[in-house]
């Protein structure tokens, strides 16, 4: 995933201090740094551009106007923003239920000569996105953060409040579940 730019870092701290003092330029820099990533994250979870826009805006608004709360969290600003986005998606699910644009029954996956093998090169991005919705919430989260967002296991651990080992184990299980889901859809 490319085009999402650099994930956050210690560079955020001076900007955060400036935003606290009402500096609009610093707020703009942080907005530019995170908005696309958060939109991408939420879109991967919800599958609807309109909802992803609204939740990404809501996440950025909360992140930049409630910095007093961030001070007490003890995590990186980037992790805090992702946590807000995650909570916003969970809240969205509660209010609206899980939404998918394409009915799962209509999704057709390419079949390989050997039914036990997946023809990965023939899978479309949408096939992958749809199959991911069969996974648990945590499995989806870890795959999106690790592979769609290109974050390290340590960064994902910080966001999810888990150890790096737990994230790696979760990632392994998530990939296994995704593979099974793709095979079931192909057959």
């Amino acid at each position: 995933m490319r085009a999402l730019g650099k994930a956050a870092s210690d560079d955020d701290r001076p900007l955060i201090e400036r935003v606290r003092r009402g500096d609009q330029d610093a707020a703009r820099t942080l907005y530019e740094r995170y908005f696309d990533r958060i939109y991408n994250y939420v879109y991967a979870r919800l599958g609807r551009a309109e909802d992803a826009e609204d939740l990404a805006i809501d996440t950025m608004t909360r992140s930049l106007t409630r910095l007093d709360l961030f001070q007490d969290q003890g995590v990186a600003f980037s992790s805090w923003v992702y946590r807000i986005a995650h909570n916003a998606t969970i809240d969205h699910y509660r209010r609206h239920g899980k939404v998918t644009l394409v009915p799962l029954d209509d999704a057709t996956l390419p079949q390989s000569a050997d039914p036990s093998e997946l023809a990965l090169e023939q899978l479309s991005n949408e096939d992958l996105r749809l199959a991911m919705r069969d996974l648990t919430d945590e499995q989806q989260q870890v795959l999106i953060l690790r592979f769609f967002q290109d974050l390290t296991a340590a960064q994902v651990a910080d966001i999810m409040g888990k150890s790096i080992g737990a994230v790696q184990a979760l990632q392994h299980r998530a990939l296994g579940s995704l593979e099974r889901s793709l095979k079931e859809r192909a057959n």
Binding site: G22, A27, F35, M60, N125, L128, F147, G176, E179
Partner: protein, 236 residues
């Protein structure tokens, strides 16, 4: 690498190759307009709340200074002063910390002396009513002091003798002062009040000399429990 791990690695690589979904430029502009407005409003609210917090702190500091100043000023207040009730409160607090018989005696004798000084001042200001109240309060304190001596007689006669000696000396000093005052005043009501005060002071001596009884023993409580109050209620 096992076949399963190889397969999962390949799947992970495929996931990495998924193109990023990015918001439309219009969505991004709309988002920034909303976020910018919220950040500006938040900064304004925070600034206001800081101002209010500073104001509250300043008001609290001013109130604390005012109370401390009033307490300090009340120490020298007289019965015709607005701060005089506060003086009574401070005296009662002080009495709550007098635990030993010696401390309790000192407390009552100090208050008796203060009441006498107040009575003299009120007579000088022609406030015979307040002077009379101050003298009554003085006698109450002397009586409480006598009860302290009396209750100690049963517990430790040596200490009781020392306390009694201090009480008698104080009463003698007060009596000389009252006698001088009596010679100076011409107001009959004031003279009568002083004469009564001198008589009651002598009765306190009798109380101190009397053996402790269940009715009297331990009746003297610092802070004005033995008497109604360590100082009279002022009338303005």
């Amino acid at each position: 690498m096992t076949p399963e791990v190889e397969r999962l690695e390949a799947l992970a690589e495929r996931l990495r190759a998924v193109e990023a979904t990015i918001p439309s430029p219009a969505a991004k502009i709309r988002g920034w307009n909303l976020v910018s407005a919220a950040v500006q409003q938040s900064a304004t609210v925070r600034s206001r709340s800081h101002s209010v917090r500073r104001l509250v702190l300043a008001a609290a500091a001013a109130a604390a200074l005012l109370v401390a100043g009033a307490v300090a000023a009340s120490a020298d207040s007289l019965p015709d002063s607005a701060l005089y009730p506060l003086k009574g409160v401070v005296e009662q607090v002080r009495g709550a910390f007098a635990f030993s018989p010696s401390d309790r005696l000192t407390y009552h004798l100090d208050l008796a002396k203060t009441r006498l000084t107040e009575a003299e001042a009120m007579i000088a200001r022609h406030r015979v009513d307040l002077a009379s109240q101050a003298l009554t309060a003085m006698n109450d304190q002397l009586n409480d002091a006598a009860l302290v001596v009396q209750s100690e007689q049963g517990a430790d006669p040596a200490i009781a003798a020392d306390l009694q000696n201090r009480l008698l000396q104080a009463i003698a000093v007060h009596d000389r002062q009252l006698q001088g005052l009596q010679g100076e005043v011409t107001n009959p009501a004031a003279q009568a009040a002083i004469a009564t005060a001198r008589d009651r002071a002598q009765k306190a001596v009798q109380v101190a000399n009397a053996p402790a009884s269940s009715g009297n023993s331990g009746n003297s409580n610092p802070g004005g429990k033995g008497s109604a109050s360590p100082h009279p209620t002022p009338k303005h």
